[in-house]
C-alpha cells in the first residue's frame, strides 16, 4: 500500500515540478519511471487498507482492477510522451497530472474519494480539450462541464443518502451491509447516474463524441483510452457495493447499440471514433452486468490499447490531411498512421488474433445464448461502421511512428498473450463467428452506405433534460425492482 501511495504522490509532485520548471517533458519521463518502480514494488497487489486509519480513513486496495489500470495507464502515458515529444511543456505536465489522477482513482475504494478523483480528472480533461483554443473545442469542454456537473450533483445526493443510512463510505463496508431499503436503493440509483454521466454512457448526455473528437491528438488518446475507464471503474466499484447487475446490463445494451447507430452515419473521423468509444463502453457494462468481471477488465485494457492506437493514427491523419472528413482523407494518410488504423480496426471489429478478439471471447465465454447473440450483433454493427475506413488503409508518405508502433505492439501482444493463456479462445467456432460477424458487417455497410439514419440531435438543454430524466428513471427502477 505504501509503495502505491508514494508512487501516486511522486507522480503528482513531478507533474507540478514540471509546471514550475517549464520542463514538463523530462519530468513526465521521470514520473513514468517512478510509476513503474512503484508498480514493481506492490506488484502482486496489496490487501485493502485505510489511509489515515479507521474509522474515517480512505479505503485503498491493489486488486486486479488497480493492477490492470496501472499497467494500462503507464503504457499509454509512455506512448503519448513518445508521440507528443515536441509539444509544449505545460501540456506534458497536465497530461502527467491526468495520468496520476487515474492511478489514484484505480486504487481508491471509497465513494467520496472516487468523487474527488472524478472531478479532478474532468477538470484536467476540460483544460486539455480546450487548450488548443478553437471554439468548437471550447464549446465541447463547456458542455462537458455542465453535464458532468449536473451528474455530480446527483452523485452528492446519492452519497448523502447512502451515508445517512449506513454511516459508511467504503465499498467493502457497503457490500457487507445487509440492508437494501428505500434510501439505499434511491441513493444507489443517484450514485449510478452520476458515475454514468462521467463515463459518457449513451443518453446520459452525448458529450463524449464531441469532447473526444475535438481534443488534440494525444489528449483524445488518453481521454478515450484511460479517463473514460475511470468512470467504468467507478461503476464496477458501485456494482460491487450494491446489486446493480440488471440495470448495468440494460445500460450496456443501450450504450452499445446507441453508439454504433450514431457512428454508422458519421463522416468525421475523430467524432466517429468517439461514438465508438461510447459503444465499446457498452461492452464493458455488459461484462459488469453479466458478472463477467474478468472479461470486462480485459476488455477495458484491450480497448484502452486499440482505441488509443486508433485515436493516435486518426489524429496523425487529420493533421497530415488538414481535414477531418473520411472521404476527403483518402490518399492523404501517412504510412505509419494508415498501418496503425488498419491494426486498430482489425482489433476493434474482433478479428483474430488481436486484442479485440481475445477480449470479446473472454467476455462471451460461459454466457447464455441471448447474451452471445447481442454481442454478435454489436460486432456486426461495429464492423459495418469501420468498413468506412477501408479506403484509408493505403498510406502516402512517412510520418511519426514511435508511439504508434508501441501501441500496435501492445495490441498484438495482448492478443497473443490471451490466446496462449486460454486455448479455449482458439476454438474453431470462435474464429468462424468473428469472421462471420465482420462479413455480415461489411454487407450491412454496402446496404446502408448511402442512407443517413434520422437520429435525434441533442442540444445542450435536451442533454441536460435527458440526464435528469434518466436519473429519475434509474432510481425509480431500482426502487421498485
Amino acid at each position: 500500500m505504501i509503495a502505491a501511495l508514494a508512487g501516486v504522490l511522486a507522480y503528482f509532485a513531478l507533474a507540478l515540478l514540471g509546471i514550475v520548471s517549464a520542463r514538463g517533458r523530462e519530468t513526465a519521463v521521470l514520473a513514468v519511471f517512478a510509476g513503474l518502480a512503484s508498480l514493481a514494488l506492490w506488484l502482486p497487489g496489496f490487501p485493502e487498507g485505510f489511509v489515515g486509519g479507521l474509522p474515517w480513513g480512505i479505503a485503498v486496495a491493489g486488486d486486479l482492477w488497480a493492477l490492470a489500470f496501472w499497467s494500462l495507464a503507464l503504457f499509454l502515458h509512455a506512448a503519448v510522451i513518445l508521440h507528443a515529444w515536441s509539444k509544449d511543456s505545460l501540456r506534458h505536465a497536465l497530461i502527467t497530472l491526468l495520468v496520476a489522477t487515474c492511478l489514484a482513482g484505480s486504487i481508491s475504494r471509497d465513494l467520496f474519494n472516487l468523487y474527488v478523483v472524478l472531478e479532478l480528472s474532468s477538470l484536467l480533461s476540460v483544460i486539455l480539450i480546450a487548450k488548443e483554443g478553437r471554439s468548437a473545442a471550447l464549446w465541447a469542454a463547456l458542455r462537458y462541464i455542465l453535464l458532468a456537473g449536473l451528474g455530480m450533483i446527483f452523485y452528492l445526493f446519492g452519497l448523502g443518502l447512502v451515508y445517512g443510512r449506513t454511516g459508511a463510505l467504503a465499498i467493502t463496508a457497503l457490500s457487507q451491509t445487509e440492508v437494501w431499503d428505500k434510501p439505499l436503493r434511491i441513493g444507489a440509483g443517484l450514485l449510478l447516474a452520476g458515475a454514468t454521466v462521467k463515463t459518457g454512457v449513451f443518453l446520459f448526455g452525448l458529450w463524449l463524441p464531441q469532447a473526444h473528437g475535438h481534443a488534440p491528438t494525444e489528449v483524445s488518446v488518453l481521454l478515450s483510452g484511460l479517463v473514460v475507464k475511470l468512470g467504468v471503474l467507478a461503476l464496477a466499484r458501485l456494482a460491487e457495493a450494491f446489486p446493480l447487475e440488471p440495470v448495468l446490463l440494460a445500460l450496456g445494451l443501450l450504450t452499445g447499440f446507441g453508439g454504433v447507430l450514431y457512428a454508422l452515419g458519421e463522416k468525421d473521423l475523430k467524432i466517429m471514433l468517439g461514438h465508438h468509444t461510447v459503444s465499446q463502453i457498452g461492452y464493458m457494462l455488459l461484462g459488469l452486468g453479466l458478472s463477467a468481471e474478468l472479461g470486462a477488465l480485459l476488455y477495458l485494457v484491450a480497448h484502452g490499447l486499440f482505441k488509443g492506437l486508433l485515436f493516435l493514427c486518426a489524429g496523425e491523419a487529420v493533421e497530415a490531411g488538414a481535414t477531418r472528413s473520411i472521404p476527403e482523407l483518402v490518399g492523404k494518410v501517412p504510412w505509419p498512421a494508415a498501418l496503425g488504423l488498419a491494426v486498430g480496426s482489425w482489433a476493434i471489429v474482433g478479428l483474430p488474433p488481436l486484442a479485440g478478439f481475445v477480449a470479446k471471447n473472454y467476455l462471451s465465454l460461459a454466457q447464455p445464448i441471448w447474451a452471445k447473440a447481442f454481442l454478435f450483433l454489436l460486432s456486426v454493427g461495429t464492423a459495418a461502421s469501420f468498413a468506412k475506413l477501408l479506403t484509408l488503409f493505403r498510406g502516402q508518405g512517412g510520418g511519426k511512428f514511435g508511439g504508434i508502433m508501441l501501441l500496435a505492439m501492445g495490441v498484438i501482444a495482448l492478443g497473443l498473450w490471451g490466446i496462449l493463456h486460454n486455448p479455449a479462445v482458439l476454438a474453431l467456432q470462435a474464429w468462424v463467428e468473428a469472421v462471420l460477424a465482420v462479413g455480415l458487417g461489411f454487407l450491412t455497410y454496402l446496404l446502408v452506405r448511402e442512407k443517413r439514419l434520422p437520429l435525434p440531435q441533442f442540444f445542450l438543454e435536451h442533454a441536460l433534460l435527458s440526464v435528469l430524466l434518466a436519473t429519475v428513471a434509474l432510481s425509480t427502477i431500482l426502487l421498485i425492482a
Partner: protein, 212 residues
C-alpha cells in the same frame, strides 16, 4: 419541454423525499472526541480534513491548483482591450484600506494557525486574505496592485506550496506522524495556496475581461 422538465423535477423531489423519510430512525454517529484527541487536536473536522482524509484533501488542493492553471492559461490568451476604468478613487477608501489591511492579515493568520483548535483552517484564511487583496484592489486600482504583486513569482510559489503539501501528506499518511504541528503547517500551506489562487482569479477576471 418545460412540462417534461417540471415533471422530472417533481419526481426527483418525490424520490429524494422518499429516500430522506427512510433515513429515520437514525443511529448515533461515532463519537469524534477521542479520535480528535488521538491526533492531538480539538477540532474533529480538522482532524478528518487534514488527518484521516488528508488523501482526499490533497486531491482537493490539486483540483484548486489545476483550476487556477486553467484560468491563468485561458484568460492569459486574451489581450487587454481598451483602458481599464479604475474604480472611483476616494481618499476615504484608501485611508480605510491602509487601516484595515493589517488587522485583516493578522486575522487571516490567526484563522489559519488555530484551525486545529476551533472553527477556521486554511481555506477560510485564504479567502479572508483574498478579500484583503480585493480591498486593496478597490482602493489602489487593479493596475497598480498588479504591478506591485509580481505574478510569475507568486505562481511558482503556489506550485511549490502544493508540492510541499504533497510531501507533508507523505509524512502524515505514510510515516504516520501524528502531531498538531503537521496540522498547523498544512493549514498555513493551504492558506498560502488559496490566497495566491484568489489573487490569480481576481486579477485575471478583472483585467482580461476582453470587450464584448
Amino acid at each position: 419541454m418545460r412540462p417534461i422538465l417540471a415533471l422530472g423535477l417533481l419526481s426527483l423531489a418525490a424520490l429524494l423525499a422518499a429516500g430522506i423519510a427512510g433515513l429515520w430512525p437514525r443511529e448515533n454517529p461515532v463519537d469524534p472526541d477521542p479520535i480528535a484527541q488521538g491526533w492531538g487536536v480539538a477540532n474533529a473536522v480538522a482532524c478528518v480534513v487534514l488527518g484521516m482524509r488528508l488523501w482526499d484533501t490533497l486531491f482537493e488542493v490539486l483540483v484548486y491548483v489545476v483550476a487556477m492553471v486553467g484560468v491563468r492559461f485561458f484568460l492569459g490568451t486574451l489581450c487587454w482591450r481598451g483602458e481599464l476604468r479604475p474604480v472611483a478613487q476616494s481618499p476615504l477608501l484608501r485611508r480605510a484600506a491602509d487601516l484595515l489591511l493589517g488587522p485583516i492579515l493578522v486575522f487571516a493568520l490567526y484563522v489559519a494557525a488555530s484551525g486545529h483548535l476551533g472553527p477556521g483552517g486554511g481555506f477560510p484564511a485564504g479567502v479572508i486574505f483574498g478579500s484583503a487583496l480585493l480591498l486593496l484592489a478597490l482602493a489602489k486600482g487593479m493596475e497598480r496592485l498588479s504591478a506591485e504583486l509580481y505574478e510569475p513569482r507568486l505562481e511558482s510559489l503556489e506550485y511549490v506550496a502544493a508540492v510541499l503539501l504533497l510531501s507533508l501528506g507523505a509524512i502524515v499518511l505514510i510515516l504516520e506522524v501524528r502531531t498538531s504541528a503537521a496540522f498547523i503547517a498544512a493549514n498555513l500551506l493551504i492558506a498560502l495556496e488559496v490566497a495566491i489562487g484568489a489573487w490569480a482569479v481576481l486579477h485575471r477576471f478583472a483585467s482580461a475581461r476582453g470587450e464584448v
